[in-house]
Amino acid sequence: MAVVRSPKDLVAGLMFIGIGIASIVIASNYTLGTAARMGPGYFPRILGILMILLGAIIALRSLRVTGPPLPGWKWRPVLVVLGSVLIFGLVVDRLGLVLSTIMLIMMSSAASVEFRPKEAAISGVLLAVLAVGVFVIGLKLQIGIWPGAR
C-alpha cells in the first residue's frame, strides 16, 4: 500500500493527467495532419501527451517525496468574492454602473471577517462616483450610468 507523502502533488498530478487526456480526446476531433503539414489537432495532441507524462511523474513522485498537507478550504471568501463579481457582470447593463457598483462593494465586503455594513455602504457610494468619473466620463467607456439608460 503506497503512502501518499505529498497530497498536494498527487492531486496536482492527477489534475494534469486529466487535463492531458481531455485535450487529446477533444483534439481527436480535429484533423491531425502530418509533421510536414500540421493540422489543427497536431499541436494539442503533442501537448496533451506531454501533460499526461508530466502529470504521471508528479503523481508518482508524490508517493516518495514528502510535501505539505492539503490546506483547508474556506467557502465564504471564494463564493462571496466570485459571486459578487459574477452578479455585477450580469446586472451592470440593466441596472447601470452606479447601482451595480454599490451592490458589488456591499456584497464583496461581506467576504471579510471585518465587515462593517455602514462603512461598506459609504465606500460603495464614493466608489460609484469615482467609477463614473474615471471610466465613463474620463475614459469614455460605454457603460450606462443609471437603469435603462442603454
Binding site: L82, V85, S108, S123, Q142
Partner: protein, 500 residues
Amino acid sequence: MDLLSHLALGFGVALTPVNLVYALIGALLGTLIGVLPGIGPVATIAMLLPTTYALQPVSALIMLAGIYYGAQYGGSTTSILINMPGESSSVVTCLDGHQMARKGQAGAALTISALGSFFAGTFATVLVACVAVPLSELALKFGPAEYFSLMVLGLIGAVVLASGSLLKAIAMIILGLLLGIVGTDVNSGVARFAFGVPELTDGIGVVTVAMGLFGFAEIITNLESTEKREMVAAKIKGFWLTKDQFKKAWPAVLRGTGLGSVLGVLPGGGAMLSSFASYTLEKKISAHPEEFGKGAIQGVAGPESANNAGAQTSFIPLLTLGIPENAVMALMVGAMTIHNIQPGPQVMTSNPALFWGLIASMWVGNLMLVVLNLPLIGMWIKLLQVPYRILYPAILLFCAIGVYSINNTSVDIMLTVLFGLIGVIFVKLDCEPAPLLLGFVLGPMMEENLRRALLLSRGDPFVFLTRPISLGMLIAAVLLVLVIVLPNVRRTREVAFQED
C-alpha cells in the same frame, strides 16, 4: 553616432506633454501598488490593459512600463518602514532595511534605496539602448526553428530560475500553451476548444486570464488568512546619509546594478531574482557578514539597485526578440498585440519612435520617481493605513469594470470568475500561475513557428538539432534543467528562497 540619434528620437517622443503625463501616472500608480500589499504589477497592468485601448500605443506602453519599475520603488518603502514587502522583489530589503529603521536610520535607508534605484535605472536604460540594435540585427537572422527553440529556452529558463517545483511549473506552461490554443486556428479556420461558445472562437483574452489568476485569486487568498498586519511604523529623522554610510553603500550600488543588469536579461530573471542574488553576494563578500540582518546599509543599497536594474533590463528580450521572460513582460506582449504591434526584432525598424520612445521614457520615469518618492513618503504611509476590507472591494470593482469594458458582455466576467476559481485551486496545490501566463502568451507563436519549421524541413523533426543556433539554444535549455536537478544547486535554491 547612431545611438545618439536614436536616443534623440526617443527623448523627443518621451518628453512630449502627453507622454510625460502618462509616464507620471504609470510611475505614481506603480509606487502606489508597490506600497499596497495584496496587489502587484501583474494584476494592475492586467486591470489597465483594457483602458489603454483608446491611447496611442507609445503612451500605453510608457504607462504600463512605469507601473512595473514604479512598483520596485514603492515596495522598498513598506519594507523599510513596516517590515512588510509590498512587492516580492522587496523581500530582502526588509531584512536590513527595517533594522536600519529601528535604529533611527529609516531616512538613510529610504534615500539610498531611491538613489541606488535611480543610478541602476539610468545604467540599465543606457544598456538597453546600446544592446538593442545588435541584438535585433542578430534576431532578424533567426528562422522559425531558431524562434521555436528560443521560446523553449525562454520558457524553461523562466521556470528554472523561479522558485517552486520545476515539474509542476513546466506542466503549468503546457497548460498555458493549451489555453492559448482556444480559438480559431489561423491556418485551417477550425475553431478549437471552443465548445460551441461563440465568445470563445476568438480565444480567451490575456486580461481575463491574468485578472482571474493573479487578481481575484490573490484577493481571495488574502481574505482566507486572518492574520493581522503589524502597523508599527518607524519614525523618520532626516534623509541625509553620513559620509561613512555613503562610503559603504556606493560599491554595493555598483555591484547590485551590474548583477541586476545581467540577471534581468536572463529568462525568468527580473527584479526579484536580482535582489535575492545581490543580497547573497553582499553578505558573502562583506568584511563583516555578522552585520547583515542587523542594519547593514549594503544589504539595502545592493538589492535595491539590483531590482531596479533587473526590472528594466528584463525589457531587453521583449523589445529585441519579442520573447517575454516573466509575467509582466507577458502582459506587455498582450498590450502590444492589442495595439496591433507584432512583438519581435522588427519593431525597432518598423516603429522606431515607439521603441526608442519607450526606452527614453524609462529613464524619465526613474527621474520622476526619485524626485517624487521621498517627499511623498508621508502620503504613502497614510495610504498604508487604509484597511484591507475597504481596499479589496475597490480593487474588485476596477477589475470588474475593466474586464466588462472589453466587449460589454457578461461572458468575459464569467470567464474571469472561472479563472479566479482556478487560480485559488492552483494556489492550494502550490502550482505557480506565472508560467501559465507565459505559456499562454507564447502558445500561438510557438505553434506557428513549429508549423513553419516543419513545413520548411518537409516534416523532418531533427531540423531543430541540425541548425546550429537552434541546437545551441536547446542544449542550453537542457543544461539549465540539469543544473537545477543536481542536488547541491537545488538545496541552495531552496535556501535562497527561505531567506525571509
